[in-house]
């Protein structure tokens, strides 16, 4: 009798796994195998191919792009265990999740927590189907690490606001349909004067200018608001609650940004494989350059300790039913290690690893250079490393405010 529930659980899991396999078999287009692109949300939509569209729609209809979100809003309604099975099976099949971007990573979870029923019904389902792209209106020219210093002002005009100001580092702003923004509704209080609202990017008065970065890409934009009319129903939570809601969203952002260092993982081959390809090995198959071999081992040890830490943070959060205190270090450590890996990668390749464009460089070599440059942003955005250090020192270690 004691073992009965366990047996049932296993058979339920097996049944779900079978369901996933059949779904993938039926809907995942063979030609997309291994073609998932973790950078899709920052590199822009490009032109969706027919198979890509079909795959997005199939996953969207099923709600499996947002597997653990509630079914009533278009999510998959899966348990964490089931979502893990889904991931495993997708990885085995070379499939990827076509539903992503900031709507999924940051805005959706926040709206599910703070949004009105009407807002959830309106905004969550299109995110689950991957139909609407969201961008983040947070940073301003004078409000980077000191985000609460934001000045973009929303003036109350009865049934609507009129928004004026400038946002910057708007990731994917040029492709976004909508923007979740924090704006000032009260100039007399730094934190309590902030509200969280939703702005249509095609509303009159919104202008977007892409910023060219050192990587040559333009994943970020400046966004200007000139007398933009925003209906009151687009206010999330109460007026003045924006800082609280906005910070909650940043927690989702941090978790996702650290998430096992997607930047580094994308770069594919192990450092040892790259070193073998671009350097010499001895008769025993060991890397002939002992210094490089040492540095790779040194990196891999710390990298794996980081992956274990990410896993531990997840397990602790689950067991405690709250955010584990070590979650605070994941963003800072994961991004630093991602950068370190990128530096090692290009160094191993020599000048072949610094190609900008044209003949004589493989696709992965060129991509490696862009990823190395883009990766410099990871320790700046989403709360810079220095801001993370302040957070750890004050909130976790209880060291007093330095101001």
């Amino acid at each position: 009798m004691a073992t009965q529930p366990e047996v049932d659980m296993h058979s339920e899991e097996d049944a779900f796994r079978e369901e996933v396999r059949q779904f993938l078999d039926q809907h995942f287009p063979e030609e997309l195998k291994g073609k998932g692109n973790a950078m899709a949300s920052v590199e822009g939509p490009g032109d969706e191919t027919e198979p890509q569209r079909r795959w997005r729609e199939a996953m969207g209809d099923k709600g499996w792009g947002t597997p653990t979100w509630p079914k009533e809003y278009g999510g998959g309604g899966l348990t964490r265990k089931e979502a893990a099975i889904l991931n495993e099976e997708m990885a085995k099949a070379g499939a990827y999740n076509p539903i992503g971007g900031m709507g999924v990573m940051m805005f959706g979870p926040t709206l599910l927590e703070y949004g009105s029923e009407k807002q959830k019904k309106e905004h969550i389902p299109p995110i689950c189907r991957g139909e609407i792209r969201w961008c983040q209106g947070y940073s301003e020219p004078g409000a980077g690490s000191d985000l609460a210093n934001l000045q973009t002002f929303a003036e109350d005009r009865g049934d609507h606001y009129v928004v004026n100001g400038q946002k910057t580092w708007t990731s994917g702003g040029q492709w976004a349909d909508k923007c979740f923004a924090i704006v000032r509704t009260d100039k007399s209080d730094k934190h309590k004067g902030i509200s969280f609202m939703l702005i249509d990017m095609d509303a009159p008065g919104v202008e977007v200018r892409p910023i060219q970065m050192i990587s040559g890409m333009s994943p970020f934009c400046e966004t200007f608001f000139d007398d933009v009319k925003v209906p009151k129903e687009n206010l999330v939570g109460e007026e003045g609650q924006g800082w609280t809601i906005g910070k909650r969203l940043l927690q989702h952002e941090r978790t996702n940004l650290s998430g096992g260092g997607s930047m580094a993982r994308m770069m594919g081959s192990s450092l040892a494989d790259i070193a073998r390809k671009y350097g010499e090995t001895d008769a025993d198959g060991r890397l002939a350059d002992p210094v490089l071999r040492d540095r790779i081992a040194d990196f891999e040890i710390r990298w794996n300790a980081f992956l274990l830490t990410a896993r531990r943070a997840g397990e602790e959060s689950k067991a405690q039913g709250g955010v584990s205190e070590i979650s605070s270090v994941l963003k800072k450590v994961g991004t630093k290690l991602g950068q370190e890996r990128a530096e090692l990668t290009i160094e191993i390749m020599g000048l072949q690893g610094l190609g900008w464009e044209g003949e004589g460089f493989s696709e992965s070599e060129l991509a490696g250079v862009r990823a190395w440059l883009f990766g410099k942003a990871t320790t700046i955005y989403g709360g810079s490393t220095e801001v993370q250090n302040n957070i750890i020192a004050k909130r976790v270690l209880g060291m007093l405010d330095h101001q």
């Binding site: 040892a272 070193a275 073998r276 198959g285 060991r286 890397l287 071999r293 040492d294 790779i296 081992a297 040194d298 891999e300 040890i301 710390r302 794996n304 300790a305 980081f306 274990l308 830490t309 896993r311 531990r312 397990e315 602790e316 067991a319 070590i326 270090v329 800072k332 450590v333 220095e386 993370q388 250090n389 302040n390 750890i392 020192a393 004050k394 976790v396 270690l397 209880g398 060291m399 007093l400 405010d401 330095h402």
Partner: protein, 356 residues
């Protein structure tokens, strides 16, 4: 901290309470002052045995509790926090060698006595100052072992040595043909060179050709557990100190330069804990234990070195005094870092295991 079961929770709480109340660092000061070459209090070890700590990894039918490596590691981490001097790590490693490599007869003969704390075991591998298990000169002929082992941990208290010879591991009892020469290291614990001159040796015949590697991996993980406790303690006391010490009319903890250094150490300590607990879990699960153990001690070496140095620096001048405890941790840290694999040894091993 890994997610624990109820049994492990209780064990850890018990160890924490006991070390805090019964065995703070002042107890180590007493042992040091006594000048006893064993460098531990036999009464204290007997108490630890009564609490069952000497038998945590030993099977129940040989007098242990078989609670596993994670449980053993929890206790050893707590002992590391207060620098509790005991041969528990050494004896547990010796027991693991017998569990992995002993015949039924050898297990029945030795494990119950190790589990009860009646005898103490220790591992004797290295023949030079640097850990190098590939360089073993000791050899056995007609059941008699000849060779010299250097810097053996807990040699003075041990009755039973697990000795690496060219063709495998052997059990040697303290007695005829076994001569100890004190090697007083900076941690002032028990270390000795041991000359074996035709000492009676009983081979551990099971466990395969890589028995020594397996035992060393266990030694690395348990040593890393002690180091984890030490790193945690130095971090905690340094943080407390920064919150109290006033200079320039300000508590030091309010200086951002120091806040960021502590945030860095906190992150490194998190990685160290994950690596060490990962090592324990890998031993329990039997999943890639060699990689996990190598990583555990490599991270322990890296982070404890960092934290023990920063601990001194952030304490300022008083950290340099014998009156403050932080110096004990620095000295013990370096001895443990060098034992069972320095950082360069471990990185080489990690690369080799990874096929590069």
């Amino acid at each position: 901290m890994a997610v624990l079961n109820e049994e492990q929770d209780m064990l850890r709480d018990m160890a924490r309470e006991w070390t805090t109340n019964e065995n703070p660092v002042t107890e180590w000061r007493k042992v040091r002052a006594s000048g006893d070459p064993k460098a531990y209090d036999e009464g204290v070890y007997a108490t630890m045995a009564e609490m069952g700590w000497t038998g945590i990894i030993i099977p129940e039918d040989h007098g242990g509790s078989d609670f596993g490596w994670l449980s053993a590691g929890l206790v050893i981490e707590e002992l590391g926090k207060t620098l509790t001097a005991s041969p528990l790590v050494a004896s547990t490693i010796a027991a693991s060698a017998i569990i992995l490599g002993g015949s039924e007869e050898q297990k029945a003969k030795w494990l119950p006595r190790l589990a009860s704390g009646e005898i103490v075991g220790t591992l004797a591998v290295d023949e030079a100052a640097r850990h190098d298990p590939a360089q073993i000169g000791a050899s056995v002929a007609d059941g008699k072992l000849t060779g010299t082992k250097r810097f053996v941990h807990e040699a003075h208290g041990a009755n039973l040595f697990v000795v690496a010879a060219k063709d495998g591991l052997y059990l040697v009892e303290k007695g005829d043909g076994v001569t100890l020469t004190d090697r007083k290291l900076t941690d002032q614990r028990s270390h000795a060179d041991i000359a074996f001159d035709g000492a009676a040796a009983d081979r551990l015949g099971e466990g395969g050709d890589d028995l020594l590697d397996k035992v060393l991996d266990r030694a690395r993980v348990l040593t890393a557990c002690e180091m984890l406790g030490m790193a945690q303690h130095v971090f905690d006391t340094t943080l407390d100190y920064l919150k109290q010490r006033v200079q320039f009319n300000q508590v030091l903890a309010t200086f951002q330069a120091l806040q960021h250094r502590m945030a860095d150490l906190f992150a490194d300590l998190a990685l160290m804990r994950s690596a060490v607990e990962g090592g324990l879990q890998a031993l329990d699960a039997g999943f890639r234990p060699a990689q996990a153990a190598t990583m555990a001690k490599a991270e322990a070496n890296r982070v404890l070195k960092l934290i023990s140095n920063e601990g001194i620096q952030l304490h300022g001048g008083i950290g340099m005094t014998d009156e403050y405890d932080v110096g004990f941790y620095l000295k013990r840290a370096r001895v443990l870092e060098a034992s069972f694999g320095s950082t360069s040894f471990l990185k080489d091993r990690y690369a080799t295991l990874g096929g590069y």
